[in-house]
């Protein structure tokens, strides 16, 4: 069976000279320190772009409306919900996913990840990439957060399995060891 492309509605362009990126747009950005150049529909999200067009699977789709945090990635140095960003929005910007965090670390994973591993912080693991990215960003901004700050910083990432305690404890242990 041959795959047919969805026909997009043709619309009359306005006379403005603005760079128009209609239904298909070309997006160039830095993904985990690598240049990416891709044609993408303008009505898909960054999460779709990463997962389905670029094969980067660490961000997960848990709710698709910004409630669960499973799709957390870092956009220009800020942790954000990739399900609430349109793909063309990242044109010219920097995106870091968990894969990028690992690439940057010495060895196979970051020190923080090792703490999560040794603390058995996760159960089903589905929320793990989002939580690790959020925690990495939190520690980037505030290397010595209090317990309250950790709890507040991770409160946007839902986990149904663990009761959160082993996740919070891993971050606390990590900070203790660093200082």
């Amino acid at each position: 069976m041959k795959k047919t492309k969805t026909k997009t509605k043709t619309k009359t362009k306005t006379t403005t000279t603005t760079k128009e990126v209609a239904n298909k747009c070309s997006v160039q950005f830095l993904l985990n320190d690598q240049k990416v150049s891709i044609e993408a529909p303008s009505n898909i999200t960054l999460l779709d772009l990463l997962r389905n067009q670029l094969g980067v699977k660490s961000p997960k789709c848990g709710c698709d409306v910004g409630d669960c945090g499973a799709c957390t990635v870092i956009l220009d140095g800020e942790s954000i919900r990739s399900c609430l960003v349109l793909a063309p929005e990242v044109h010219g910007r920097k995106v870091v996913t968990l894969e990028g965090i690992m690439k940057k670390s010495e060895g196979e994973m970051s020190e923080l990840q090792r703490y999560f591993l040794n603390k058995n912080s996760f159960q089903c693991g589905f929320c793990a990439p989002g939580i690790i990215v959020a925690a990495t960003d939190l520690l980037e901004k505030n290397p010595h957060p209090t317990r309250e700050e950790i709890v507040e910083g991770l409160s946007g990432n839902l986990c149904r399995c663990t009761g959160y305690t082993p996740i919070i404890d891993a971050v606390i242990d990590y900070i203790k060891q660093k200082s």
């Binding site: 047919t4 969805t6 996760f122 149904r160």
Partner: protein, 802 residues
């Protein structure tokens, strides 16, 4: 017993995969460029007759490959009762039910085209509450005859231990009768009756349901599903699609990691669509991916229950009789949910010694989404009423809550509701440990500084028990194979849904074979390669699959000893396994490493070899259970293998103005039989307690008067965040070993959330003097109840001063 691996914490086998995102879930798998996507056309009505379906516009829409309706699949399916069709046939019975599906080249085209399918309905009046579905004494508001949701009920196939009532909305009644109720009531000094209600709940695993089906031109049907039940799915797919010529051997279910289950991914729900749709587009994989809203309204939901409880007690607090009517809102299809009703009915006495019992557990059809398994399998639901009621009784009799439970709790050898004897257990110890941990009887100081005048403290306790709810012949099996380096792969078909079972299976094999856990791999199943497992439900995996793994490891040990006896002439009873090899009691110098013979065999002097790859095999079925019993009394069988028991306690602070509850401490004591991995047991306690607290405090599914779910999102179905955890959870692990199970272990996974709701309700009563009889115990409910209660008190005071 000295163990090397059992009872020790370990880094999870799947830990690395999960923290590095190497773990793949169904939606992460790549299927290539010819993957097709399906979108479902859903019923907007809770109850309606389908007059016609016009698919012509959708078929012509861009990217559309095929449009499928009920006409294409007039086949039924179901786990315990075949009351469900793959697509709605002449009727739809809940809002969101699948009526048709569009298969297209991409997800957006499929969704767009699904909106073009025109379905013409004759809308019927829906039945949205159990009170509307049948006549319940004291509950019915209308005198008209209930509307029938399944007029064909009498023709439905079901397991022999279900007793449907044709021409009614009762799909099953589980009855229990023991002792003599008349005598019980006569002997009682007091009789207390009350009604408690529990709403529906959603599992809320963070991963939504996903399934991909591929029916290739050789006739092979492969499904990749986010499932707790790969073999059960294979069986149900093969059964449902048998008319198309599909046979068990041709169906293959592959289940990669699952992003949380909690019962929601047990059995078959939306996965049947991927299986069926795949057969219509041979050669192309088809993906069905639920969105979060569908995850709420078209998978299993935890059933609501209305519980009428009547208890007879003696002056000294001895419970003498219990009558309980449980009316379960089981939804539009009860193929799985009816067994929740059954399991709850069997155990609705709770972990108490009650000589006279009358239990009626009704499985009631309603036009709400299908009910089904949810962590706790009915026990959380009935225990809310029962333990709340017992707390009220103790209070009214002025008997200490702990004392009341000490006096009445079930002990080893007591008669169970359906006959048979209670297994050895640590319930009494659990009660004492909880009482001491929460300093029962001592006044608690508030920890909250602000508005201290509005803060009241309270303590609450609840006992719990649960048996695995399984068919009597539910079974597990395991293969273990050696690799050249002496490492092993364990092949089982239980699912890693977060509980850490891969690690525990490795610990069991490690203990028998004396191999470090780092040299063991256990992977998620593929029904082609991994041996049979019933399902990952009922907290039975550690016990059941663990038993199979234990047997497989012992089988390998046996083969190893046999081989060495045969090849080297060593006496087998002189041999033992140690440090990745075989040793001899009588010859300290003998140490044959696995890596030197388990694949390559043992070399003989003449250049030949003895042995060959060592392959362990184990299967386990509890051959002592039976579901056969008298339908009118529930007596005669032995439906449950054993009960896991425990007790829990909580300390709370409530703001009387706002109704907000803060939780300084929760104690959870559970008798695991044998704790195979304390870290994982602790994980189940921490997670289960929080899930329990959330269902007790703020979660619930709300439906409007048309049967539409009002909160199918995390925006309005609130599940806890890091900010919502108790200040302290104290795990207490007890070990009274069972007669079977690996090293005496029993399951504890579901149990940790079962006592939470009544424990909390009891603590609220302790703090404020108000008894809330419906879940959830929201801040709103607490505050408004308390306002009403304190106004009443003031009014009463005024009255008495007059």
């Amino acid at each position: 017993m000295e163990f090397s691996f059992i009872g020790k914490p370990a880094v999870r086998l799947d830990g690395k995969e999960k923290v590095t995102a190497a773990a793949r879930y169904v939606d992460d798998l790549d299927f290539g460029a010819n993957l097709l996507y399906a979108a479902v056309v859903e019923s907007p009505h809770a109850y309606a007759t389908i007059k016609s379906i016009d698919t012509s516009k959708a078929e012509k829409a861009p990217g559309v490959v095929k449009v499928i309706t009920g006409k294409d699949f007039p086949y039924k399916f179901g786990m315990y009762m075949q009351d469900r069709y793959i697509f709605a046939q002449e009727k739809v019975r809940f809002v969101g039910e699948q009526v048709a599906a569009v298969i297209a080249c991409d997800a957006i085209s499929a969704e767009r085209a699904a909106k073009l399918v025109k379905v013409n309905y004759d809308v019927l009046k829906p039945v949205l509450k159990v009170e509307e579905a049948l006549t319940i004494e004291g509950c019915n508001h209308s005198t008209s005859e209930p509307i029938l949701i399944h007029p064909e009920l009498k023709n439905y196939e079901h397991v022999p231990w279900f007793f449907p009532r044709p021409e009614s909305n009762i799909a099953h009644i589980r009855k229990i009768r023991t002792g003599d109720m008349d005598k019980g009531w006569a002997e009682a000094d007091h009789i207390f009756t009350d009604t408690y209600t529990v709403p529906r709940y959603a599992h809320c695993a963070i991963e939504v349901h996903a399934a991909v089906g591929l029916y290739d031109f050789s006739g092979r049907l492969t499904l990749w599903t986010a499932s707790q039940s790969p073999h059960t799915q294979r069986h149900l797919f093969a059964e449902a699609l048998a008319p198309l010529g599909v046979a068990h051997k041709d169906v293959r279910v592959i289940t990669p990691f699952v992003g949380g289950g909690f019962g929601g991914k047990a059995g078959v729900s939306m996965e049947i669509l991927a299986a069926a749709l795949a057969t219509t587009v041979r050669g192309n994989p088809v993906k069905v991916l639920w969105n979060r809203a569908q995850e709420f309204y078209n998978t299993y939901q935890r059933q609501g229950v209305l519980a009428q409880i009547k208890v007879g007690v003696k002056n000294d607090g001895t419970i003498i009789a219990l009558e309980q009517n449980l009316y379960w809102d089981a939804g539009a299809y009860v193929e799985y949910g009816a067994n929740v009703v059954n399991a709850a009915g069997l155990s609705a006495s709770g972990p108490y010694r009650i000589p006279n019992l009358k239990i009626d557990s009704y499985c009631v059809y309603t036009n709400l989404p299908p009910g089904g398994p949810y962590r706790g399998f009915g026990y959380s639901e009935f225990l809310f009423g029962l333990e709340s009621h017992f707390a009220e009784i103790a209070k009214k009799l002025k008997i200490d809550q702990i004392e009341f439970r000490r006096k009445n709790c079930i002990i080893e050898g007591d008669r169970l509701a359906y006959g048979g004897k209670m297994n050895p257990n640590g319930l009494q110890e659990a009660i004492e440990r909880v009482a001491s941990e929460i300093k029962w009887g001592e006044e608690e100081k508030t920890t909250t500084k602000a508005h201290a005048k509005n803060i009241r403290t309270g303590k609450g306790i609840s006992l719990f028990w649960k048996a695995p709810a399984m068919p009597p012949n539910a079974s597990s099996s395991a293969f273990i194979k050696f690799n050249e380096d002496g490492s092993i792969n364990i092949l089982v078909s239980a699912m890693e849904i977060g509980q850490g079972f891969l690690t525990v299976m490795a610990q069991i094999a490690a203990e028998i074979l004396s191999i470090p856990i780092e040299k063991i791999r256990v992977e998620t199943p593929d029904t082609d390669r991994n041996p049979y497992e019933w399902q990952t439900v009922a907290s039975h995996i550690t016990w059941g699959t663990g038993s199979a793994v234990l047997k497989a490891a012992e089988d390998m040990r046996e083969q190893i000893f046999c081989l060495i006896e045969r090849a080297l002439g060593k006496e087998r009873k002189d041999l033992y396994l140690k440090a990745e090899g075989v040793r001899s009691h009588s010859d300290e110098t003998f140490h044959l490493l696995y890596k030197d013979f388990v694949i390559s065999g043992i070399p003989m002097e003449d250049g030949t070899f003895r042995g060959g790859p060592i392959l362990g095999r184990g299967s386990f079925m509890p051959e002592y259970t039976s579901a056969k019993s008298n339908p009118e009394t529930g007596q005669g069988g032995k439906p449950n293998v054993h009960y896991t028991v425990g007790a829990a306690g909580i300390v709370i602070e409530v703001d009387t103005d706002t109704g907000k509850v803060t939780i300084p401490k929760v104690v959870m004591a559970v008798d695991a039989g044998r704790v195979l991995n304390p870290d994982l047991v602790k994980g189940q306690i921490t997670g289960g307690v929080l899930q329990g607290l959330a269902t007790a405090l703020y979660e619930d599914m709300r439906f409007d008067d048309k049967g539409r779910l009002l909160n199918p999102s995390f925006t309005d179905y609130k599940i806890p965040t890091t900010l919502d955890i108790p200040q302290e959870i104290v795990p207490v692990m007890l070990e009274v070993p069972g007669h079977d199970g690996p090293f005496g272990a029993r399951g504890i996974g579901e149990h940790t959330m079962i006592p939470i709701a009544p424990m909390l309700a009891n603590a609220i009563e302790d703090a404020l003097g108000i008894r809330i009889k419906s879940l959830p115990l929201t801040a709103e409910k607490i505050a408004l109840h308390f306002q009403l209660h304190s106004h009443k008190l003031i009014a009463n005071d005024n009255h008495s001063s007059l």
